[in-house]
């Protein structure tokens, strides 16, 4: 009697169900209520019966008679229903008993915080574009706080990989050498030297060093930035401008220094009027020295500076040192730009604003944009990307044109070749 057996089973299942359901807070699904059980239950049962029959026919197990078939169908069906309903109930019961039933609840207010925004002019968080200029990060190499959009160029210099890094390193070394020569009273005391060149006391150091040039404003007269603007101004040779018309100038030729001595400063050379003949001579042995018509200052770049010709350099020397003056033999790597600091930290802090300051003529197009970047004006980096003239780096795998392909002004070894001069530095 199949009806009876299924009823019994259903009854038993129903009883268990009710007991479990008493412990939950959700209402039970309607179709397991004993009162409406018969309707959908029996329909589905009939369907299952039919499909079972078909299957059995396929498998040619026609030995079983109809009633047994129905019994099997009912059993299977009851098991299925039990499993899906009871199983669910047991899960809920378990969740309540073990205390994690509440986890499904969410807080609707805080859900709203994360809704995606889809409006023009706003990103998905509802923020306006291009407001991220002030993001900063800490350089893992030198532990200083750097503006995020300038991090890559800073890191390049920090790790010593940039196109200028070796040049700057040489300058620094040459500078410290120069320092030691010109201030003999401080030579012996390393501690004082360190103090002088430490990050905070640059001002003091500069003051001391440039006793003779004391009226120069607090700037490094020789930052590469300066030379760049010099390039833009296209200094003329001294022949055309020097002769009679050079008034005594103080060096603020239009550009002002910032209050922060480490920021880019704009003075473009050395005011030669105040230098004594000995100093001039020593300067001219290591620097280009050509006087810019705009700024009336001497070019502080190397003897091979591409902006000026040898002819110009010769003229300057003759002008200052008399007709017997001769352009000195160009050494390979000394850039005596009289930097004031030997401390790499201070140097790098200045240079972080330089952008990719490559002074070779081939990059004149790009230098302007990097100048903008160097000022930290927060230009959208995409602009500079588009305007920058770039080497072909969008290459296929394996054919990356690395740093080696960049033209260098002159091949500079990272360490100076003559050990004798630099013994005392390291």
């Amino acid at each position: 009697m199949p009806g009876l057996s299924s009823g019994q089973r259903g009854g038993r299942a129903g009883g268990r169900l009710q007991r479990c359901l008493g412990l939950t807070t959700t209402p039970p699904p309607p179709c397991v209520q004993p009162c409406c059980r018969p309707l959908c239950y029996e329909q589905s049962e009939r369907r299952l019966h039919k499909s079972l029959q078909m299957k059995m026919e396929e498998m040619s197990l026609s030995g079983l008679d109809n009633s047994k078939l129905e019994a099997i169908a009912q059993e299977i069906y009851a098991d299925l229903v039990e499993d899906s309903c009871l199983g669910f109930c047991f899960e809920v019961h378990r969740a309540v008993k073990c205390g994690y039933f509440f986890l499904d609840d969410t807080d609707p207010d805080s859900m709203k915080d994360f809704e995606i925004v889809d409006q023009p002019g706003l990103d998905i968080f509802g923020q306006v574009f291009n407001q991220w200029k002030s993001k900063e990060c800490v350089c893992p190499n030198c532990s200083r706080s750097i503006a995020a959009s300038r991090f890559a160029p800073h890191l390049e210099k920090c790790l010593g990989m940039g196109r200028n890094s070796s040049r700057i390193a040489n300058r620094r070394i040459a500078n410290s050498n120069n320092m030691n020569k010109s201030e003999s009273d401080q030579e012996d005391n390393d501690d004082i030297n360190d103090n002088d060149w430490s990050y905070g006391s640059e001002k003091k150091a500069k003051k001391r060093k440039s006793d003779k040039l004391w009226y120069l404003p607090f700037q490094n007269p020789n930052s590469p930035r300066r030379s760049k603007s010099l390039k833009h101004k296209n200094g003329f040779s001294v022949c055309t401008s020097a002769s009679n018309t050079l008034p005594l100038l103080f060096s603020s030729s239009g550009e002002l220094s910032n209050s922060d001595p480490f920021k880019y400063n704009n003075s473009t050379g050395i005011s030669y009027e105040t230098l004594g003949p000995e100093e001039l001579r020593s300067l001219l042995t290591t620097q280009c020295g050509v006087i810019s018509e705009h700024t009336k200052k001497m070019c502080t770049r190397s003897l091979r500076c591409p902006q000026h010709t040898d002819e110009q350099r010769r003229t300057v020397r003759i002008y200052f040192l008399g007709p017997s003056a001769v352009l000195p033999e160009v050494e390979s790597s000394l850039d005596n730009d009289s930097f004031d600091m030997t401390d790499s930290q201070a140097l790098i802090s200045r240079l972080q604003w330089d952008g990719s300051s490559d002074l070779s003529p081939s990059d004149s197009g790009s230098s302007k944009t990097s100048e903008n970047q160097g000022w930290g004006l927060g230009t959208n980096s995409s602009e500079s990307r588009k305007t920058k003239k770039k080497k072909s780096h969008l290459s296929l795998v394996g054919t990356a044109s690395g740093l080696g392909s960049n033209k260098k002004k002159k091949p500079k070894p990272p360490a100076p070749p003559t050990p004798s001069i630099y013994d005392d530095i390291n």
């Binding site: 019961h93 509440f102 807080d107 995020a148 588009k386």
Partner: protein, 438 residues
């Protein structure tokens, strides 16, 4: 007696252990385990549902402001600040962090650092990157640590300049792969065929190269591991397009407009038998003579994530330019015709449609597209990524905006990332083989 059902921890623990034992027994008695069976968990390995512990419950109880991630949530999306020409890096990071299987690996904290110092481990950094990008924080992330690590470990990429996104992808995958093994310098014999680090499990496919001798028809086969497939485009000087597009019916449901090249066309060209000219005779192993031969590339093993790279940057002797030809690519891709096993059906270059299209094994779905705007010298990378199953977002460095599928499919396309639709469990036999060989 309360006549209630009780749940005792110790008894449940015993039950769990016994169940595990029973399943293991079940697995080892089966002599052959087919793929279909393997796709059901429980054969040899049971994946238990997560259950909270008491301290976790307390903690959760104290924090009632819980959120459930719905499909309109921003969680999982976050901008990346451009550190100075690093848009190429940002795009690759967005693509990798939205690779479903990689995301699952890192968000379930599966990485165990093997490197001597974790600060230098790129995989650890990747892990923290996932954490940052899935934090729900709306302000863009500054990936400076990532840049630093990449420059240290992939010196050829170091330097402040614009770079190629594809090159960065390969270099990053290489460093990640090495660091998964704790190999800092790349000295160990890294044989990707036997490596089971997460990168190799996901990205490494096998490219089969068959060289057929024209005289004796002997075939010499090599299989090389590959992380991506670089495709030539029509219009480049070096490419050769024997088939006019439009001749074959569309295999992958791409909108087939005559004149528009599709990704399938490119793949067909990639896997066509190529006749190596008389100037490139190869010594045949079987007939021991120098003969002309044909070479054919097919996929031997498909990776879980397939990356396609369009060779848009041409560096030939006469010119260097970017090829901007629009290539149409599909949302769903079936790689069956390009498998080594389908080779026989490609007689005379005719592509047979897959007969068993009900088989989902080789079906892929697009989930990330990296685009380049600009010229060879200078340009900008942006990416489209797929999130919440069917929503697409455009990632332009720090700005993420919603995009439509049409935007994605209409874009030029430089790097395409496809994810397998059905993941298979390795059968025990295959696992054994791998571990022995390694």
């Amino acid at each position: 007696m309360c006549k209630d059902y009780v749940y005792d921890k110790d008894i449940e623990q015993i039950a769990k252990e016994e169940q595990g034992e029973a399943l293991k027994l079940q697995a080892s008695t089966s002599t052959e385990v087919s793929h279909q069976q393997c796709s059901v968990p429980g054969l040899g390995e049971k994946f238990p549902t997560w259950e909270t512990t008491k301290p976790e419950l307390e903690l959760l109880g104290h924090n009632p402001r819980r959120r459930r991630i719905t499909s309109s949530f921003t969680i999982g999306l976050r901008g990346l600040i451009n550190l100075g020409n690093t848009c190429f890096m940002n795009c690759i990071v967005q693509a990798l962090t939205h690779t479903p299987i990689l995301r699952d690996f890192f968000l379930s904290d599966r990485h165990r650092c093997e490197m001597p110092s974790p600060e230098l481990c790129l995989v650890c950094e990747m892990s923290s990157l996932f954490r940052e990008l899935y934090s729900g924080n709306p302000s863009p992330h500054v990936p400076y640590k990532l840049l630093h690590l990449v420059w240290i470990h992939a010196r050829h990429l170091a330097g402040y300049r614009q770079q190629d996104a594809h090159e960065f992808l390969i270099a990053a995958l290489d460093v990640l792969h090495r660091h998964c093994k704790g190999d800092d310098v790349g000295k160990a014999a890294n044989n990707p065929n036997h490596c089971n680090c997460i990168i190799d499990q996901i990205f490494t496919g096998g490219l089969q190269s068959d060289v057929t001798c024209q005289a004796c028809h002997g075939v010499s086969t090599t299989i090389d591991p590959c992380w991506d497939i670089s495709l030539d485009l029509p219009g480049s000087c070096t490419s050769f397009w024997p088939m006019s597009p439009g001749r074959e019916s569309s295999v992958n449901g791409e909108s087939h407009i005559p004149g528009i090249t599709t990704l399938t066309d490119c793949l067909r060209r990639f896997t066509r038998p190529e006749h190596l000219g008389s100037s490139a005779k190869i010594k045949c192993g079987s007939c021991q003579s120098y003969q002309e031969s044909t070479k054919q590339l097919t996929m031997n093993k498909l990776p879980v994530v397939a990356c396609f790279h369009f060779k848009r940057f041409e560096h030939s002797a006469k010119q260097r330019r970017k090829i901007t030809t629009y290539i149409s690519f599909p949302l769903e891709l079936d790689m069956t015709p390009f498998m080594a096993s389908s080779k026989e059906s490609r007689i005379n270059g005719q592509l047979q449609l897959p007969t068993n299209s009900g088989n989902n094994e080789n079906k892929y779905s697009l989930f990330a597209v990296v685009n380049h705007q600009g010229t060879l010298e200078s340009g900008h990378y942006t990416s489209f990524i797929r999130h919440h199953k069917d929503q697409w977002f455009k990632c332009d460095d720090a700005v993420i905006t919603k995009a439509s599928i049409k935007d994605v499919l209409d874009s030029e396309g430089y790097l395409l990332f496809y994810h397998k639709q059905v993941l298979e469990h390795e059968s025990e036999k295959v696992k054994e083989m791998n571990t022995q060989a390694y």
